[in-house]
């Protein structure tokens, strides 16, 4: 079958305008794309594939009936929002975009046979694909010791864990201690843990819990995102309520007694112990091969996995080549951004075209500092040369062209309102 180039096609169609039918010559029509994981990355890629070419059949595989958003979930933990507010349904993708949603968990990918085995309520099914997009988010690397997330929640994948941490926080009384850990970068949502510390401190103040404190045990040497806003928040806004401890690498955890030993500080019998363990790619993604950090290396133009035909990984599970010290952050906004690049590349590939090289991706986070004010973080990337620490070119990838946080004067109520405008818009652009 022959693909027409754009110019030929335009002249052909101009001549044929008004004709009853045109031969269905596109190879993209009827192509099958299977997407594993219905979070920000998976939902967005399914949505954009269908929006940009309704001729492509898209099947989205996701074990949960709805997606619970991590974005805004710290406001649920601290009682400012209800769980409903972060529950995102697949109904619009199904009804408005024509995405076939299969409730199930992918068990394995047969990369040679171009098919996936999925476990569903009605037993295992096999789905064949022309292109496969894998967007499973993260799994946790168990910390040393006796770690049990149903006793010491992470609440770093939203859902029952969010409710559990909210309920535990509600038991905190005067002089009690909320202790949380932050894993070494890269982890999802660089400002997220600092935001959580602020929101818990704000909660303790709002509830009048005198003497109750938040201890932040950070495995990193310093605050990983929005350093100005969070330094000010820790030292001024929430002074006396937050103890920030850098270089605190977890050495052992005992969830039953809510005790922890780190390289910088140990705490026994915390009232609440919120362990956020280190991350790696979700298992179904990791099965495709991971780098030393546990994430799947991808081609930044297509999100394809090298050596595996027509399989793409997007979102938190992937590792995008970037300049040293300027990594592409793992965020919902970024997962959505990558999904669009991936969808465009798949549609081009189905038509026998090369991927677009004139591409950009971006990330944005709004971080509440109190129940009335928020900061924000913005990052932008353009495809091109990427650099090592000495400024030498090390290859091609997504080079960070801009990074910045809200100036002090903008950490305010307007930004707090903007946070909801942004989140609702991103929810729509991914799920509706």
């Amino acid at each position: 079958m022959q693909t027409l180039n754009r110019r030929k096609f335009l002249s052909l169609t101009a001549a044929a305008a008004g004709a009853a039918a045109l031969p269905p010559q596109s190879r993209a029509v009827g192509a099958r794309v299977v997407v594993l994981g219905g979070g920000f990355g998976g939902a967005s890629v399914a949505r954009y594939l269908r929006m940009w070419n309704p001729g492509v059949a898209v099947t989205l595989v996701e074990p949960n009936a709805t997606h619970v958003s991590c974005i805004l979930s710290n406001l649920v933990v601290t009682g400012l929002l209800s769980m409903n507010r972060i529950n995102l349904s697949y109904t619009a993708l199904r009804n408005n975009r024509g995405v076939q949603v299969v409730q199930g968990r992918a068990l394995g990918i047969d990369t040679g046979g171009n098919r996936v085995t999925v476990s569903t309520a009605n037993g295992n099914v096999t789905l064949g694909y022309d292109h496969l997009v894998v967007a499973p988010g993260i799994d946790f690397v168990p910390p040393p010791g006796n770690w049990n997330p149903s006793l010491t929640p992470h609440a770093w994948q939203a859902g029952p864990q969010t409710t559990l941490l909210r309920n535990q926080l509600a038991t905190l009384g005067n002089n009690d201690r909320f202790v949380m850990t932050i894993p070494k970068s890269p982890y999802r949502c660089p400002p997220g843990p600092y935001e959580r510390a602020c929101m818990v401190a704000d909660y303790l103040k709002r509830k009048g819990r005198t003497g109750a404190t938040v201890t932040v045990l950070d495995a990193n040497p310093s605050i990983q995102a929005e350093p100005e806003a969070f330094t000010r928040a820790f030292n001024v806004t929430h002074a006396g309520r937050i103890l920030y401890v850098p270089n605190a690498v977890v050495q052992s955890v005992d969830s039953a007694s809510r005790s922890i030993v780190t390289s910088a500080m140990s705490v026994s019998n915390a009232k609440v112990l919120n362990i956020i363990p280190a991350h790696r790619a979700g298992a179904i993604g990791a099965s495709l091969g991971v780098n030393a950090g546990g994430f799947v290396p991808v081609d930044p133009l297509t999100y394809a996995v090298s050596g595996v035909a027509n399989v793409h990984v997007i979102g938190d599970a992937c590792a995008v080549p970037a300049s040293d010290g300027k990594a592409v952050p793992k965020s919902g906004h970024m997962a959505n951004s990558e999904a669009k690049v991936c969808a465009d590349a798949i549609l081009r590939a189905l038509n026998g075209e090369q991927p677009d090289t004139n591409i950009a991706t971006s990330s944005a986070c709004y971080s509440p500092i109190t129940s009335r004010s928020a900061s924000w973080l913005s990052a932008n990337f353009i495809y091109g040369d990427i650099y090592d620490a000495n400024g030498g070119i090390k290859g091609k990838g997504m080079h960070r062209v801009d990074l910045g946080e809200a100036p002090a004067g903008e950490v305010n109520q307007d930004s707090y309102q903007d946070m909801f405008t942004w989140a609702d818009s991103l929810f729509y652009d991914s799920f509706a």
Partner: protein, 108 residues
């Protein structure tokens, strides 16, 4: 590819053809600027959905382009948009502005 009045006219002709709405999407290379402009949809309403910050449809390509340049060059950053505008080259801003102006509701 630069967006010219000629391609605009061709695209209108395309849109008029019923068959093309289905097959055209599959055949033609994606419209220039579409992928770049999609990176604005996390925050801006591009399809009348009523969410997000300022709606961009309805502005001309040159209005959008000049606003982007102004925000990119702003030395005293106020809005997250002043940062996001720094994420695109001049050629990319022209391409995505032209695409945004071509969306329904938009006009040159």
């Amino acid at each position: 590819m630069r967006y010219t009045p000629r391609t605009q006219a061709l695209r209108s002709a395309l849109a008029a053809s019923i068959a093309l709405t289905v097959i055209g999407a599959a055949h033609a290379a994606p419209p220039a600027g579409r992928l770049l402009a999609a990176q604005c949809a996390q925050c801006h309403d591009l399809d009348g959905n009523g969410r997000g910050f300022e709606e961009l449809a309805g502005e001309s390509a040159s209005e959008i382009y000049h606003e982007l340049v102004e925000m990119k060059n702003r030395t005293r950053i106020e809005s997250i948009m002043d940062r996001q505008a720094r994420g695109y080259t001049d050629a990319q801003m022209r391409a995505l502005a032209a695409y945004l102006a071509s969306l329904p509701g938009g006009g040159d």
